[in-house]
Symmetry: C2
Subunit: 132 residues, 2 copies
C-alpha cells in the first residue's frame, strides 16, 4: 500500500488537504479537518507533517506556524525555500526563482560556515490587497 506513492495513509490524507488549500494550514486546523477521517490526535498530525516536510512535499512557513504544499522545483527536498507573504491577507506564495536560489545557495559566510539549507521569507502587501 505504501509502495504506490510512498506516502502512508495519514500522510496522504494530510498532504491532500494541504495541497488542495489555497492558504497555509495550521496543525490544529488540519487536525480538526481530518477528524472525520479517523485522525484524532495531535501526534498523528505532527508526525505526518514532519515526514512531509522531511521529504519536501510540504514546507513550514516559520513565521506563521503553518504549512503549504511545495509548488516549486527549485527547492529540492527543501534545501532552498523562499516565500512571499502578504501581511494583510496572509496569502503565501512560494517563490521559484532560479537566480535567487543559485545566489543564496552559493552564498558563503564570512566566518567560514558552510550552509546546507536556507529559508527566506519576504513580507509585504500583495497586489490584491493594495487595490482595497
Amino acid at each position: 500500500m505504501y509502495k504506490e506513492n510512498n506516502l502512508s495513509k495519514n500522510q496522504q490524507i494530510i498532504f491532500d488537504l494541504i495541497n488542495k488549500s489555497s492558504e497555509p494550514l495550521k496543525a490544529y486546523t488540519i487536525l480538526f479537518s481530518v477528524q472525520k477521517k479517523g485522525i484524532k490526535a495531535p501526534p498523528q498530525v505532527y508526525r505526518a507533517l514532519d515526514k512531509l516536510v522531511e521529504t519536501g512535499k510540504i514546507h513550514k512557513i516559520e513565521s506563521k506556524n503553518a504549512f503549504v504544499a511545495c509548488r516549486s522545483s527549485n527547492c529540492e527536498i527543501s534545501k532552498a525555500t523562499a516565500f512571499s507573504i502578504c501581511e494583510s491577507c496572509e496569502m503565501v506564495d512560494e517563490i521559484s526563482d532560479t537566480k535567487l536560489s543559485k545566489y543564496l545557495s552559493g552564498f558563503n559566510h564570512k566566518k567560514g560556515m558552510k550552509f546546507k539549507r536556507f529559508n527566506l521569507e519576504f513580507f509585504g502587501i500583495c497586489k490584491k490587497c493594495k487595490k482595497d
Copy 2:
C-alpha cells in the same frame, strides 16, 4: 525615566539579558531568569519582547522561537535580517553582509508584489562543531 534611553524598565531588563547572552533565548527561559527582578508572568515578557522586536533592538529567530540582540547595522528596524544557524550546537549568528542585504532588498517578485521586509535563515554545521 523612559526618556533616557527610550526603553521601559521591563524592556531594559529583558534587553540586557538577551544582549548579554551568547545564544538565543526563549521567552520562558527569559521569564524564569527575570523572576527575581519582579517580572512574574508571561505577558510581561511577551510585551517587552514585542516592543524590542518592533524597535529593532532584538530579532526573533523564527525557526527556533527564540530571541537574539541585534548585532548588525544593515538591518535597520528589522527590515532586512539574515542569520546563520548551526543545526548541531544551535548557535545563531547575525549576518551583516551589505551585498546580500542590498541584493535581497532590491529583489522584485515576478508577480509584482513589493516587499517591505525579509528574513533569511541559513542552516548548517558551524566550524566549531565540524571539528568534533
